[in-house]
Symmetry: D2
Subunit: 349 residues, 4 copies
């Protein structure tokens, strides 16, 4: 790639926004040219406006970028949205209408009929909804969304199994990291030494988004996958990494060995195209009795892998296993960037 493509980040000062900035700062294809946030940041540099709390230093040249308002007048073709759901809906639509390629991490448009909800390893074909979106909404821009963070790892683990054996029922209980709640997010008085057995709206998202992602594209619409998901979500005092305990029933019989092979050997379009952010092996299967663990495994493949461990029979359904993934990388900013990379590689941007 001769020249880097200019990109912008909406909501750049927030938790997901910062992760976008961190990942884009060293991206081989994209140049972070614009950072935008609410009006009260405008007039400051990014360094002044941001309470940077990533574990790598803020690159100096990015710290000097001037904050822009979230209006469709940024000097770039692609915008990544880390906006809060309270404002994301309208702002993202405005950017799309103005011709920008919008990669959104917000929930607002995920379930719209004409908006692709994409994990490139699993349902890259859903990106054809972009055409429907353009014809319905007009304009040359578009919105592509990635899933809720917990959904990401569940869908990733179910995807290959659904294709090979058909998923029939899924129970999932999550133990989610505090970074998933943004910043300042969860009060330390609420979570230190505690479990909070509730995350607003999260269970509903997992139960529906998984079915859209693994749904079938027929014509210009998505049929939800025909399996049922029951999700229970918890917040735990972990910094990064959502752990999920899954029990599932498949339509066709499968051995434990077959499940392992199916997950381990799975590769998708990002791997074939060798996209810069693609993990070489999207799903890592661990054999240790007590893994995956967020503290030890969350940065596998630079935070872009989905880890699966403890694959074993379920006394009621067919199988049980434990899933782990990095909620703000593969589960948020990294997922958006991978979506953008795919469209760039396919010359659709």
């Amino acid at each position: 790639m001769k020249e880097k493509i200019k990109v912008g980040v909406l909501g750049a000062t927030g938790a997901v926004g910062q992760k976008f900035v961190q990942l884009l700062a060293k991206h081989p294809w994209f140049e972070l040219a614009e950072v935008a946030a609410s009006e009260r940041s405008v007039g400051k540099t990014y360094g002044e406006a941001t309470r940077w709390f990533q574990n790598t230093p803020l690159p100096e040249h990015i710290g000097r970028l001037p904050m822009k308002p979230c209006r469709a007048a940024l000097d770039c073709r692609i915008v990544f949205s880390g906006l809060d759901a309270a404002v994301a809906g309208e702002v993202e639509a405005e950017f799309a209408a103005a011709g920008y390629a919008v990669f959104s991490n917000a929930r607002n448009h995920r379930l719209a009929d004409d908006v692709p909800l994409v994990i490139p390893e699993l349902n890259a074909d859903h990106l054809t909804l972009i055409e429907r979106q353009r014809s319905k909404r007009g304009g040359s821009g578009f919105i592509v969304t990635n899933s809720n963070c917990s959904t990401m790892f569940l869908a990733m683990a179910l995807g290959p199994l659904h294709q090979a054996f058909g998923v029939e029922k899924v129970f999932v209980v999550t133990m989610q990291a505090i970074s998933g709640a943004g910043y300042p997010g969860v009060a330390s008085l609420d979570i230190l030494g505690n479990v909070i057995p509730f995350i607003s709206g999260e269970e509903e998202k997992i139960e529906i988004e998984t079915r859209k992602i693994l749904g079938r594209l027929t014509g210009d619409r998505i049929e939800l996958a025909d399996f049922a998901v029951s999700a229970q979500t918890n917040r735990v005092p972990v910094e990064d990494g959502h752990t999920e305990c899954v029990s599932l029933k498949l339509k066709k019989p499968a051995s434990i060995a077959a499940i392992k092979t199916c997950l381990q050997n799975f590769r998708g379009l990002p791997q074939k195209l060798e996209l810069p952010s693609a993990p070489p092996q999207p799903i890592l299967v661990l054999d240790e009795l007590d893994r995956p663990q967020p503290k030890r495994d969350v940065m596998a493949a630079n935070g872009m892998a989905t880890l699966v461990g403890r694959i074993r029979p379920c006394p009621i359904l067919d199988f049980r296993f434990v899933i782990l993934g990095h909620n703000t990388i593969r589960g948020a900013a990294g997922a958006s960037i991978l979506n953008a990379e795919l469209l760039v590689a396919q010359k659709k941007i």
Copy 2:
């Protein structure tokens, strides 16, 4: 009660042993007269032999008790066993053979045909196994066990529902406190900011013990309850309190309101007899969206309550809810003591 009954604690220096000591120190019926542990403690006082880490001070008169070996020569009629499973089997059998009433928190004898595994609110009738035990093993002593800590709260919540509606299937995922692993137990490097999705032997215990407790006494044996349990267990950085996410299917239809009423109104023999350690209401139903939480609710009814919250429909089975209980009180030492109180109240000791 005119005079207190002398009791002893086996494994008194360990984590469960200390909890026994703490609870017995102020018990209205029992007098902690003997503390026993491994040979290397013998010759010291309890205060010298113990790295006391409870959050109330060790009473001075107990600190002065001389450590005894775990041999059946203690000056008391009742012994509470907080012994490690590595030695509990043999030692407890020796005490029972020698005529002691042994209340054990160890797993060794729980599943034996002639050993009652009892939660007094639920299956006090199983205590008639004591007769079978005596006739089979000889001697005037006996062993009564209480369940694994996670099983306790699950069985407690399922008990009234099983009686009223019949339980058919149960999925449970636990998030268990570090105090459940004893002392020193879990290394801080392993659990600080982490989740460990594995606890050795725990899932098997939950899956079988629940069915024995809720099983039916027919003649002199227990028929396991005929429902299936699928358990997944996790260790989380919480000090006290096991949280459990449950999905269940009942045999008869029930409304959410009926479930709540059934749980809230449930009372058992310990409540009727007003046993000293009995929680006035064994199951507390919480209506707050984000409760129960270990840090906030674990000491309800002095750590003897089982808390149930978030009762709601399950998209696959019938209902889902979240359970919480204090793993070293109701889930261990307090449960043993309640068992002993019941037998004393029934004049069986």
Copy 3:
């Protein structure tokens, strides 16, 4: 006391406010009659307006109290202020002007010439400033303040030593609990597994307040004690309890044994008067090598004790020791209540 004295809490929904409510709910002399907070709470009950996060349940009758605005029209004679410093100054002055006895936990008036900054064990004589305050400001009400939370334990430990031997220099480094920052306070992303070596304004407060409390009343003013304090403050992931490492130089020679005796034997006016919230022994000296520890010792004397441990020589100054106290009880709400109890006992209210 025949009839309880009606009291109110200003800022009742906040962290310190809730602690006031919790402690007053069972107070033998005071009846919590009024709860006040910002305008947006008015119209709700206390239960509706408050995200209660104490570890004991909110008493039902208090949950039903109607929220009042923080205006000097409450039906009580005494108000306790847990107000934020942003508003405390003006509101408290208004209540005092209107005749209320105001016991404030806020920093605003602490250093005013005519406002007593009181720890009843140490400088109850400073309460005579009330007269000066009344004559200067008019009105029959007054403001009495208690110290910053970290100052409390330092002043308490230094007080008896200053009286007996004269304090000359003090170095103190604190490790402060998150509950000291209010609610929501410290973000979990900032403090989980971390130390923050800065608390805004805290070092200055410790360095000056300690000297005012241990200062001498001459005529109607306080001369600051003539020793120097150097404070460094840190936030650590502990829920309740500030730990402080102290090195100090005394004016007169003293042995370790003399220091211990001096601290242990110290009693003040609250102990003589047997005030309801007074710890029987205000300073507990621990001999264990590794104590005091917040998790294990913070609730000593219901959170009203100051604990001192590891008293040992300092290679540079005279002595070193470690101090611990409960920052929201003895260090905040409990201190205010003790001040009020003293004035009631002295018939000054």
Copy 4:
């Protein structure tokens, strides 16, 4: 360097040993050829014998290395010792006697007259003690030690100031990470949500080792630096990174600006020689009000930097500041490796 130098690690399965293995696995000069530990590991591979808990995967070829006993029969010229102090003294002496260059992280030999205690940026000249050691003890091998982890960062920050202005008095209070206690080390029940104000032997080490490192080599012996150090040490629930609050008095007057410049501009021999593990700038001065923080800053310069922040006046002495460093990298294994690199660069090995 054409060919890598074979090195071995003693105590390779422990916490410091694992850090040696992790750092050596990718070292440009050294090839990890031998791993040794206690007899019970012999016969296993390193992968089998080790409960690996680093946050990067154990390289496969290292996992296959056979465990050797800690006897002086390893196929390498250099050994790094992560042995426990209980055995380090004798084993390290045996290896030195047999001709190995021993780089020890244990405390046993640090204070011996003929053993260099070296931080290469500060006192590389102390390495001439090797000659004295050889002539006294015989043999061609030798022992070089690095300091206790907390001492490392204190000495590093004091070194340039001592040279420029002369240090007269130092008060230091540490807040130390759990990884400093090895594995399993601190029990989670002891440290979760707690501070332990005591670390056995640590205060004495800091008070004496700092003075040896900054001492003067005269002839073939070290005169301790003539300043006094008072250290108080605490364990806090942080994974990696020791934070230290320092107050100090200098012999010559210095401005804050001069202090900053002195620290920031400091470079030592490792920087001049561009040793592979040398941080480009050994001391990083932070200007943010609330830094350094272990979670955010500990990996600066791959864990080899010493961070200094909050430089400000002290009301009693001259200056105060906060220090941070990575206790198992710069404070342990990385320090040993840097010592070895220096001797290799100087052709002394």
